[in-house]
């Protein structure tokens, strides 16, 4: 069997780290090839090399057996390599058709010729079962539809090699199933697919072969049918990992956080981002808010933590009204917040690791004296946390956080927030971008907080996390809580229906 793309012995170094160390990836024509690895394993770097964003320090890329040089994404495109990025690259106020032809417009004397393009798009979407309305505006269609547009973009450019970068992260279970079908369809039509993911179920569902990376090194390429999930995990992590989160029965006590009829205005449009939401988080339980990204979870958290104003409603902490309290006073009252966007909220990237670890405590007497920061104390404290939470960085506490890997940045935030010994921990996607080992660790930490009698509010998009960690699930859809579920009794399918808005029940507050 001939290979359509070969990346042979690719090595790529960055300051202080070898992102790709002698990695070989061979993609057969007409297969779905999964690229599996933890975050920071070097998947993105390898794909960036293939896409011409980075030049490898060593190694060659071959297309159809001929050596090629890919200096930029245009070269990659010319070789028939297309990519669906994790975050779509679409113009929101353009139509589907306009987005598809963007950059490769057919013109006549400078005037657009849309009819030919439309025909081609319709033909393609029929052939591959990618139904979209070419005249719909991107901002009006669902995320799943937007992804189809991205796929059509690649097909429109006659790409032979399709890279999917963690395509399922933004989809509902039902949409994921659809995508799997589409991918198989594409393969059967002769396209070659590279599928980047760290979700084993999906690999088992569609991939033919799988290449595993760990810490920048090539571990092996296996046939998916002959390899079990456990074996794949072990290849990826380097040790055995238990998927189940070990936890005992929860024994919720009195209410810690109470939210009553909370309404938050939306930034765009007149619809409310959070619409009349009420719920309670009690001591000693993990309440999880599930939902597809963009259904008001972020706004809800901003409202709870005081980062954004609310329209109406009430927030009580320990029975005290904190609806109008400042961020600082909420923090001091025992509210910890692991934010969704670690670069925007979680860290001052240009500060050192030590300075970030005291971001919520620098003003306490432990770290300041008469207005001067006690840097010796700061560094001692930072070293303590770095040891406890195994935060890895190039130069220890003095490392500028910008230069740290995403996983370690996240660990720094988690270390800071958990070490505050909060009364209530609001964790928004705390495991996003982390490897399996770190996820395991964080889940344990969340359960430990619960067992210590603290309240935990978890906001997650990962269904496995929702099902395994939480004691109670609230599903959010279009700004409202549409269901309360017991993880022991519900199924992923049922959860998916609630998340997609096609099912709802009355919520007992």
């Amino acid at each position: 069997m001939e290979y359509i793309i070969e990346m042979l012995h690719i090595t790529k170094e960055f300051p202080g780290i070898v992102a790709n160390d002698d990695i070989t990836l061979q993609l057969k024509k007409g297969e779905i090839h999964a690229l599996l690895g933890e975050n920071g394993a070097g998947k993105s770097t390898l794909m960036s090399v293939l896409f011409g964003l980075y030049q490898p320090d060593k190694g060659v890329i071959k297309k159809d057996g001929r050596e090629v040089k890919i200096n930029n994404p245009n070269d990659a495109n010319a070789l028939g390599i297309g990519m669906v990025h994790q975050h779509f690259k679409l113009v929101h106020n353009f139509t589907v058709l306009q987005n598809i032809i963007l950059g490769v417009e057919t013109t006549k004397r400078g005037f657009l010729k849309m009819d030919a393009a439309r025909e081609k798009v319709l033909e393609l979407s029929n052939r591959y079962g990618l139904m979209v309305d070419p005249d719909a505006l991107i901002e009006n269609i669902t995320v799943g539809m937007q992804q189809r547009v991205e796929i059509l973009k690649m097909l429109y450019r006659d790409n032979e090699i399709l890279i999917f970068d963690e395509p399922t992260a933004v989809l509902t279970p039902q949409e994921i199933e659809e995508l799997m079908k589409i991918m198989k369809n594409l393969r059967d039509e002769g396209k070659s697919i590279l599928f980047i993911t760290h979700k084993l179920n999906e690999i088992k569902a569609v991939a033919d072969r799988c290449t595993v990376l760990r810490k920048g090194k090539y571990i092996g390429t296996v046939s998916v049918a002959d390899t079990s999930k456990e074996e794949l995990t072990e290849m990826m992590v380097g040790r055995k990992v238990s998927f189940a989160v070990e936890k005992g029965e929860c024994c919720p006590k009195e209410a810690k956080l109470e939210v009553k009829n909370l309404v938050v205005a939306s930034k765009h449009g007149t619809k409310k981002a959070v619409n009349n939401v009420s719920f309670t988080v009690r001591k000693g339980e993990i309440v999880c808010i599930a939902g597809i990204d963009g259904n008001g979870q972020s706004e809800l958290v901003y409202a709870l933590t005081g980062l954004a104003p609310i329209e109406s409603g009430q927030i009580l902490l320990d029975g005290k009204d904190i609806t109008r309290a400042s961020v600082r006073s909420r923090n001091v009252a025992g509210m910890s917040h692991i934010p969704e966007d670690r670069h925007k909220h979680g860290l001052v990237l240009d500060y050192s690791l030590a300075e970030n670890l005291v971001l919520k405590r620098y003003f306490t007497p432990q770290f300041q004296k008469k207005g001067f920061i006690r840097f010796d104390e700061v560094y001692r404290y930072a070293d303590k946390l770095i040891g406890e939470f195994d935060i890895r960085s190039g130069q220890g506490a003095k490392t500028i956080t910008r230069s740290m890997s995403g996983g370690n940045q996240q660990k720094a935030i988690i270390a800071r927030e958990i070490d505050l010994d909060p009364e209530i921990l609001i964790a928004v996607q705390p495991t996003r971008g982390l490897d399996v080992g770190a996820i395991e660790y964080i889940h344990k930490q969340l359960v430990a907080q619960r067992d210590a009698g603290k309240a935990v509010l978890l906001i997650s998009l990962e269904l496995d996390e929702v099902m395994n960690v939480s004691d109670r699930i609230l599903v959010m859809y279009e700004g409202e809580i549409v269901g309360e579920l017991d993880p022991a009794e519900t199924t992923v399918q049922e959860l998916g229906l609630y998340m997609a808005g096609s099912k709802r029940n009355e919520v007992a507050v």
Binding site: E13, F14, P15, G16, A19, T45, S48, Y54, T305, L307, S326, V327, R328, S329, R330, N331, V332, H337, P339, K344, H345, G346, L347, V348, L349, D350, Y351, E355, L359, K360, Y362, F363, Q368, G371, F372, I373, F375, R402, S403
Partner: protein, 400 residues
């Protein structure tokens, strides 16, 4: 050897070097302008620029420091605001308002005894400068009016207000300048009169430099401590680097914006006072409709000093030095405008230090790799397949 290499790739070295490199490029560009406008005297002219303040001996150097004093303060003003994420383009307005206040107190408040007179004048200038920046600060914090626009407008309001008030209160219509301040309001020499003078027979030709330069340096050091050692500085920089994260951490960003602008304004206002409280030989306020150059030159000073208070001391002295050198060019056959162009282009290129900061590491890396390849080829010829070690040393730049 390795230590030298470590210094070479260190961030601090890279920053300082990029500033120096951009100065060199600016000088080269200035030389080209000299060549174009008057090829015959270009080399002589270039030497004069390089000699800068030294052209006229010790007094010249004194003048360099005298004119560097306000630049340090306006540079600090711009740099301090910049560290907190604000662009204070309004140093010119704050500067001239401070200058007027100082001169007014210096001329009118003669009831104050000697040391207190100039001290009160300095404080008054700082307060008015701070007030001048308070308005853009409040507008930014509470109404989200961009500070670039509001400070630029405050510049013009400040300039015309100062002109009007000078004419109204402390104008010397014979000289068309502001009046001389009382002797008690003139800054003391602070020991500098023993160094910066030229002996002319039995008389000393004194430089106008005074203890203002000491005050400027002291203020720079205080600013350095505030930014790097205090809780206040920690908060201010956090706001500057990432306003979202500082809000998340519970820092009162609005209060910090206002405070930062006020401090920046106080610095610029103080700069105005230090320049104009220098006695009969020193500067006087000219009533012309031109924004104070010291205010705008604070921007390249801050850029060249990379907003570091200590760096700003040196960059201000450099810009003053080169400006003085430019003034002496008039001895040759150069139009004054050409001199301004040259100085402007040097300053302009100085501001390129940020560009060089990203370009230089790449250049170094390229050179290192070239060398590594060469040695690699040699070693490969000698003993096949052994990778030269120099390659592993901290490859700078790259995929960030």
């Amino acid at each position: 050897m390795n230590r030298i290499r470590n210094i070479m790739v260190s961030d601090g070295f890279n920053r300082a070097f990029s500033s120096i490199f951009s100065i060199l490029v600016g000088l080269l560009f200035g030389f080209i302008i000299l060549l174009i406008s008057n090829p015959g005297q270009a080399v002589d002219g270039f030497v004069i620029i390089l000699k800068g303040g030294f052209s006229t001996g010790a007094k010249g150097m004194g003048q360099v420091l005298y004119f560097a004093t306000p630049l340090i303060l306006t540079g600090l003003s711009v740099g301090f605001a910049f560290k907190t994420g604000l662009f204070n383009i309004g140093a010119a307005g704050q500067f001239i308002m401070g200058a007027f206040t100082a001169v007014y107190i210096g001329v009118k408040w003669t009831f104050l005894p000697a040391p207190w007179h100039w001290i009160v004048a300095l404080i008054g200038a700082a307060v008015i400068g701070g007030l001048w920046a308070l308005i853009p600060g409040l507008l930014k914090a509470y109404l989200n009016v961009h500070e670039v626009i509001s400070t630029i407008m405050m510049n013009y309001i400040g300039m015309y207000t100062a002109n009007y008030l000078v004419k109204l209160t402390v104008f010397d219509s014979k000289k068309n300048l502001s009046m001389n301040t009382a002797e008690s309001a003139v800054l003391p020499k602070g020991g500098l009169d023993y160094i910066f003078f030229n002996q002319l027979g039995s008389t000393k030709d004194m430089s106008t430099v005074n203890c203002g330069i000491w005050i400027a340096i002291a203020v720079a050091i205080v600013m350095y401590i505030i930014l790097n050692k205090t809780v206040f500085g920690y908060e201010l920089k956090a706001c500057g680097f990432n306003a979202h994260a500082s809000k998340y951490a519970g820092i009162n960003a609005k209060r910090n914006i206002v405070l930062s602008m006020v401090i920046a304004g106080m610095l610029a206002g103080l700069g105005g006072a230090l320049l104009y409280l220098s006695g009969a030989n020193g500067r006087h306020i000219k009533v012309v409709d031109v924004l104070a150059a010291e205010g705008f030159n604070g921007i390249p000073v801050a850029l060249l000093g990379l907003s570091n208070p200590i760096g700003i001391i040196f960059s201000a002295i450099f810009i003053s030095y080169i400006t003085q050198g430019g003034n002496y060019l008039q001895r040759l056959d150069y139009m004054p405008e050409v001199i301004d162009i040259i100085i402007a282009s040097i300053i302009y290129f100085s501001a390129f230090s940020l560009v060089f900061r990203t370009l230089l590491p790449r250049l170094f890396k390229f050179l290192r790799e070239r060398r590594a390849e060469k040695t690699g080829a040699q070693t490969a010829a000698e003993a096949a397949g052994v990778e030269p070690e120099s390659r592993d040393v901290n490859n700078e730049g790259g995929g960030r």
